[in-house]
């Protein structure tokens, strides 16, 4: 298979605005045989291609068992995403993928889950949270800690509020800046750590967001006894080819695109920030 040319056309079935600069696109492969064959794990990503402009790595948000389509939540930050934002339902994108290693959703079965996310970095983990809630009986307690700079950055607020109502689930939100309608903690996400009880040895941690936040989270939880290999970080690097051949996304000895983007803390700790 020629990975550089392994594109498949996918049509936009729906387009939903999450915040003024974040959109979720529902896609369906044009070719039925591709749609049938396409299988992925939660936390994997696709390279999403816009005609005449280029590709961006975007994690797959929808459930791996959902065979009707693929959801990609895209933040409008650059040339490619600005172009994608302008596309309408019925227009087509190209897809290469799926790539990378996703969340340890199988390994986490029977364990308590702690999710730590920051800012707009939460999109890749939302898919995993939904996956877990759809298989609720397979997992233990769920604690979701999410921090934003300002309440306006709060993506998927309704989802967080829904999750908070589920049994054996704790949702803690923090905003650096206060606001009238903000009824949650004011401060940084790391201040939420002390508000959760954990059973370190039966806890699996999933983190996504600024590296410095993930590092602080990992250090705190390691100090409380959570084994390093049970903490997972979603690494953000310049991923272009998706298969470890183009060289850009290296971090220490790893290629974030194929050895990650989700990596356990015991492996990645020495190389964070580099």
């Amino acid at each position: 298979m020629n990975t550089f040319a392994d594109f498949h056309a996918a049509r936009i079935m729906a387009k939903r605005e999450e915040t003024p600069d974040v959109w979720t696109f529902r896609l369906r492969f044009e070719a039925q045989n591709i749609a049938d064959r396409f299988a992925f794990k939660g936390g994997q990503f696709n390279m999403v291609y816009l005609f005449g402009v280029g590709e961006v790595p975007i994690s797959i948000m929808s459930d791996p068992d959902d065979k009707e389509g693929l959801d990609h939540t895209i933040r409008i930050v650059g040339r490619v995403t600005r172009g994608i934002e302008k596309l309408n339902v019925g227009e087509t994108l190209g897809i290469r993928g799926p790539f990378g290693k996703g969340w340890p959703l199988e390994e986490a079965k029977g364990k308590d889950i702690v999710v730590i996310t920051g800012g707009l970095g939460c999109a890749p983990v939302v898919g995993a949270i939904e996956y877990i809630f759809r298989r609720r009986e397979d997992y233990g307690q769920i604690k979701i800690l999410h921090g934003v700079k300002t309440p306006r950055d709060m993506l998927y607020k309704a989802r967080f509020e829904t999750w908070a109502r589920y049994p054996d689930t704790q949702v803690l939100l923090a905003s650096d800046q206060p606001a009238k309608a903000w009824h949650y903690h004011v401060g940084v996400v790391t201040e939420l750590f002390d508000m959760v009880d954990i059973t370190p040895e039966k806890t699996v941690v999933m983190m996504c967001g600024p590296e410095i936040m993930m590092q602080a989270g990992a250090r705190h939880l390691a100090a409380r006894g959570v084994p390093q290999q049970q903490m997972y970080l979603s690494m953000e690097r310049n991923m272009q080819c998706g298969v470890g051949l183009c060289g850009h996304c290296q971090v220490g000895p790893y290629f974030a695109c194929k050895d990650g983007p989700v990596m356990s803390y015991d492996k990645i700790a020495p190389y964070l920030g580099g």
Binding site: T3, F7, N238, G244, C246, Q250, K258
Partner: protein, 374 residues
Amino acid sequence: MSDSVDSWILKKVSFDTFFSALKLEDYKVLSPQVEDGAVTWFEASEADDLKQGFSDQQSVGSYRLNQTESDTWFSIVHGAQSLKNLTFKPRQATVKIIKTEAGISFQAEQPKAEKIAVIGVRACDVAALQIQDRVFLGGAYQDEYFKANRESLLVIAVNCIHAHETCFCASMNTGPKVKAGFDIALTELKDAFIVEVGSIAGKNIVESLNLTIAPEDMSKQADRLIQHCAASQKKKMPQQNLPNALYAKQHSEHWDEVATRCLSCANCTMVCPTCFCHSIEETPDMARQTSERVRVWDSCFNPEHGYIHGKNMRPTTADRYRMWMTHKLGSWIDQFDSSGCTGCGRCTTWCPAGIDLVEEAIAVMGEDAMEKKA
């Protein structure tokens, strides 16, 4: 031809028969030749197409060509180009995208390659090919373009009998004698070449030449010249405890010091025979009905290399030099179970600031040794 024999004599007066044998097998023959004052891969259909008497002179930050009265054919050690230009091409079209009524469709550029025989490949560059095999063919995803180019390449190595100030293949255990990964190997003596074979394809061609067995004294003379070349290399790359020694130096102040000299020009990565970073150029036509994607060489010294929206993971020259050296000499071993360096010395020769990879590696790791003493 007996299997127990391992070297033959090809008289220089009969060198043309070698070219004829290659042409009979439909190979296009390339050789490093001086053209417009630079050494590039050049088509040579007969021995007379090879220019005699040229030699190169390489030192830190310097490359000069000399023309002498000598009638030697292979006195140039190497030019800026390695086999990388032939196997992992600087530009490779990958896919054409076409707008259709229904949306878009994709037309893959099929990998294709012509049969090429390269005469004059040095041991360091043969070693680079083997490293490329690990990078491009060793993982779950293979580079089909590299694979096609690689499979149609016949490697005719020439053992080095002269080393430059910048050469350190002996310390990397890659040369100056080619050990594996070649089809035919030559050693140039005064009136003849010693010929050795390294593959079935090479054996078939050599057999067709009906060569005589090399007398022991000539083989020994060739070995002595190669050994002398190895012994003449003053530069030695430290090999101890890589890659951990470099990971431990992630925050070393030495990177800032190198950055005061490094221009971040990317020359070292362009001439490196193993550097594989690439990006994609996307070019739509004016009417925006079709678009073409072309894979082009990239470099970890380019500012965009570590860029993610709103942030550059390697914003400074110090970060980029650390990335280049740590990868080339260290993390490459973790990734591909082999160093990314062959000891060819090109990065040092072609550095406009005269930065010497070996010296810098010693300087970075030397701190390690000093800390241990303290």
